[in-house]
Symmetry: C2
Subunit: 576 residues, 2 copies
């Protein structure tokens, strides 16, 4: 049996930062080599970051990516790493456009590739066959599909290379890898986190390993990129379905594992396969420890996703700090706790902005939160400003309530403008779904940490975070009162959310069916929900689309987030 | 020679309004029948409107569309129109999903179809082969491609049916129609307006007609749908390249034309073709007049596109009126004139909101504009409100300038909330490109009429609109002073835009290269532009992406509009 030591580089790239991403690859190559690895495998598009969206249609971007890839073999040699086999993900182009459309159409001119580097040369290149063009993915828009398999012979083993979606499709390259009888399948991925996705992804990897009787080495990138959070969770599974190695979620990690793929045979298979043979290191290497991370509890995973999504948005965009309004309510309390976990409480600025309708309790709860977490906190009453506006315009009712929310937004944006803080907006998914917000008011901000977390789950998260603190002997960050009290926008006397909206458990149940599962009104009513409530909720969702289009981005953590995951018209009748 | 009288229904559908869209088709069928037509041809997706985006992934929506199509044959018979051949565009589904992705992925379950109805039955159905998935189109995301051609024999002529993109692709169905030797090609379209697109679309139709020696009947929908404006401009061209009929742009029209396609032969062609024979009317019909509209001047076309885009957004979404800030500057003046042309000056509400930095001239120019156009106008000074905020927060400099802009946005949003007006935001494409705006301030609003019109073109449009008025003996709407004076945000004393930005002609030239043509910085510098200016502009464009994501929609009128036409990350380095 050939024995190969693999190093899977679960790294956090920055889109377009070719120099920085290259340094990460070189650092991983050094660590891999020092640990005795034969082969280093990076994530999908490790050179460029992922997703690059329409940057893939910009020739200058592709030329820069190509220059970075072309420079890598010599860099590896110069650093004494020439014998290491490096399989690196990158875009390749520009090629002649695939599509013929109207004049300015951004036709696909690139491929999504993996290159095999060894001995100072690029020895082979594989282009992704299956281009996901659903959910958040637009790869058919930006990439030309590949049509040739790649099998690399290393130490007498046949090692196949594919990219991400190629693994997911029945009848795709994986089936043909079986025909080519490779003993090891390397899969480069950029697969974003979703709640419960580990319940889909690991079984898929395992199924592929078992059905092809092949060792599958699956490496995923990690990190936040706009509204996506890549969770890592790279894994190596053998043909019996046993997990040989697994990287922790949500952080960079070099996963080392020894594998014993079946020796290469002499099959001649009727598929287009590019075959190359590369050398591997021949020195003796010592043993390595078994590295199999345990996945934490679902709520901890979700919390970690939200923390990393915010941290990377802040850090990758160069913000020193964040500012947010803290009302004493559950949403802003959870956002403040996420922010403190992401970038430290010293970089978090929270403003309490009471109006004449704010209860004493609210300001107390906000102050309590600030003290528990230790972020910068001050009170900025809005009464005088609101009074001047209401009097000048003669406003009352909902338009006057909107003014309160907009004055608050104006105040934290002023702090953002003055001090360079990123402004956070605290709306949860339930609010965003039904438009229970004032646009340009509470929706103002550059990032929305919990926009994909329904209200009922916000409460659960708050409770979990407090329990997590207690288990570790720390102060629970969220005041119990903020968890227990009835939610209120506090824009008029004695207001609660339930004056306007159905109870949150019912509302979230209907939204799950209407938004996530795309059921029509009648379908939902047929499941036993009250007709009037369903029609009310669906109407609110439909008519809030224009607000959502102007909303801040925030981390996608569900199977159906607002944004590019769900593309619906503003104008029109969507009833059905 | 067989003679067929065609009626092309250039109609304005509303997305999802199956009942209303059906009534439009029936009305067109009546008019067509009364005019002696053999065949009525609708636009692409006439039953559902276009684009339906992810509604195509919602089974209840598809079931409603199918019910509307299935009801049509009997409706036609009931109205005495059973002998008319009706070729109608619609989505069809739900089918089994095409893609296998992660669990909640919105896989394609629909086709983009044209059905042939006659004698109370659906006689045949064609599914679009080529699914545009570039620019603003996501059809590969939402539709399953068809793989069979359709040829309908009517009065001894073979009539082929295709849909939109099928015409554009070399090597697509059009080539195979040539093999099938049809004498007439019917093309159902939903092709949005772009400046200068008539210089691409008509030559394409003509080229296809000539290269296949076939009469091509090309019908396009008309109307605004969110950020798209469909211009109609339906046309019939014969095999010699002669225009037999052409509908006017930007309004509904039933285009009638007599055509004499070559008689059907007996070809047996090696492609999958569904062939049906349908009856046509046998009564004598009188002659019809030649109907060939002239295209107006490019600036008039553009103005009409902006007017229709705004009108349909207002009317299809049920707004009674619009409100906007009028500063006396060129952008707000042009927006007010567009609004008045779209929905009448009686439905336009303009607010002048001077600050301490506003010149007397600005308020005078705004008042002059209001008087010329005749919209509702009043002055709402912002000084008292801004003073309270600045004092409470101790603001100065840019953060204080932003407060002025945000107080203005707050005021027109309050009017919007109080009276149900749609709020307009007046930013032009140049501003939107470089982020020369205050988010939640001047960008506040539901619709941005000129967001795809560069500043230099805004001036041209203003001049054109005034000349157009003068030619017709009307009052020019835009004050000459608003056109002539140096542009200024008037947020500090003696400010002009050119304190901060390069001169607009230079800026727009660089933006054309960087945004529309996707050139990299070095590419632009190589064309002779100053390095520092190019780098400054490109940096402004890159770092404004987060603002654009939160911007209002507005009509796409260029080959590269912001929005779904240009999908770029916020986070990352895009230099190249």
């Amino acid at each position: 049996m050939p024995r190969l030591r693999l190093a899977l580089s679960q790294a956090n790239p920055l889109v377009g930062d070719f120099a920085g991403n290259t340094e990460k690859i070189l650092a991983a190559a050094h660590a891999a080599w020092d640990a005795g690895a034969d082969l280093l495998l990076t994530g999908e598009m490790a050179i460029s970051g992922y997703p690059i969206e329409d940057l893939a249609a910009q020739p200058s971007f592709l030329r820069a990516a190509r220059a970075a890839v072309d420079a890598l073999p010599a860099r590896l040699v110069a650093e004494g790493l020439g014998d290491l086999v490096v399989v690196v993900g990158h875009p390749d182009g520009p090629f002649e456009p695939r599509l013929l459309g109207s004049s300015n159409a951004p036709t696909a001119i690139a491929q999504n590739c993996a290159s095999v580097i060894q001995g100072g040369e690029i020895r082979a290149r594989y282009a992704k066959h299956h281009l996901p063009n659903y959910a958040v993915f637009d790869e058919y828009r930006t990439f030309i599909p590949g049509d040739e398999l790649l099998v690399v012979r290393i130490k007498g083993a046949d090692v196949a290379v594919i990219v991400c979606e190629d693994l997911w499709r029945d009848g795709g390259p994986v089936g043909r890898v079986l025909e080519a009888d490779a003993g090891l399948l390397l899969v480069l991925n950029a697969s974003p986190y979703e709640r419960d996705k580990d319940e889909v992804r690991l079984p898929l990897v395992t199924r592929r390993a078992v059905e092809t009787d092949t060792i599958v080495a699956y490496v995923n990138i990690v990190g936040g990129q706009d509204d996506l959070v890549f969770d890592g969770d790279s894994v190596v599974v053998d043909g019996s379905g046993t997990i040989l190695a697994r990287a922790p979620q949500f952080r960079e990690h070099l996963l080392l594992v020894d594998v014993d793929p079946a020796p290469a045979g002499d099959q001649v298979v009727p598929v287009a396969v590019q075959r190359v043979t590369v050398e591997a290191r021949s020195d003796e290497v010592g043993p390595i420890a078994r590295d199999v991370a345990e996945l934490p509890d679902d709520r901890e995973q979700l919390w970690n996703a939200l923390v990393l999504g915010l941290r990377d948005y802040v850090q990758k965009n160069g913000f020193p700090s964040v500012v947010l309004g803290v009302s004493g309510g559950i949403d802003s309390s959870v956002c403040a706790a996420i922010a403190a976990d992401a970038i430290g409480p010293a970089n978090v600025y929270g403003i309490s902005m009471p109006s004449r309708y704010s209860s004493e309790g609210s300001v107390d709860d906000a102050a309590d939160l600030a003290e528990r977490i230790g972020f910068h906190y001050w009170v900025e009453p809005i009464g005088d400003i609101v009074d001047v506006i209401e009097k000048q315009l003669g406003l009352e009712g909902v338009p006057a309530e909107n003014v309160q929310a907009r004055v608050r937004g104006l105040l934290w944006m002023a702090e953002s403008n003055r001090n360079g803080h990123l402004a956070l907006t605290n709306g949860n998914k339930t609010e965003v779904s039904v438009g229970y917000s004032t646009i340009y008011g509470d929706t103002a901000g550059g990032f929305a940490p919990i926009k994909d977390v329904p209200k009922t789950l916000v409460w659960e998260l708050a409770k979990w975070r407090n329990e997590f603190a207690i288990e570790r002997g720390e102060t629970p960050p969220i005041p119990e009162n903020s968890i227990q009290k009835p939610p209120s926008a506090e824009l008029r006397p004695d207001q609660t959310d339930q004056d306007t909206l159905p109870p949150y458990p019912l509302l979230d149940a209907i939204l799950e069916l209407y938004v996530t599962r795309r059921l029509g009104r009648e379908d939902i009513i047929a499941e036993g929900y009250d007709r009037a409530t369903v029609e009310f909720v669906a109407k609110l969702v439909d008519r809030s689309e224009w607000k959502r289009r102007q909303g801040a981005i925030g981390p996608k953590v569900s199977g159906m987030a607002f944004g590019r995951d769900r593309r619906l018209p503003i104008t029109g009748r969507t009833a059905g």
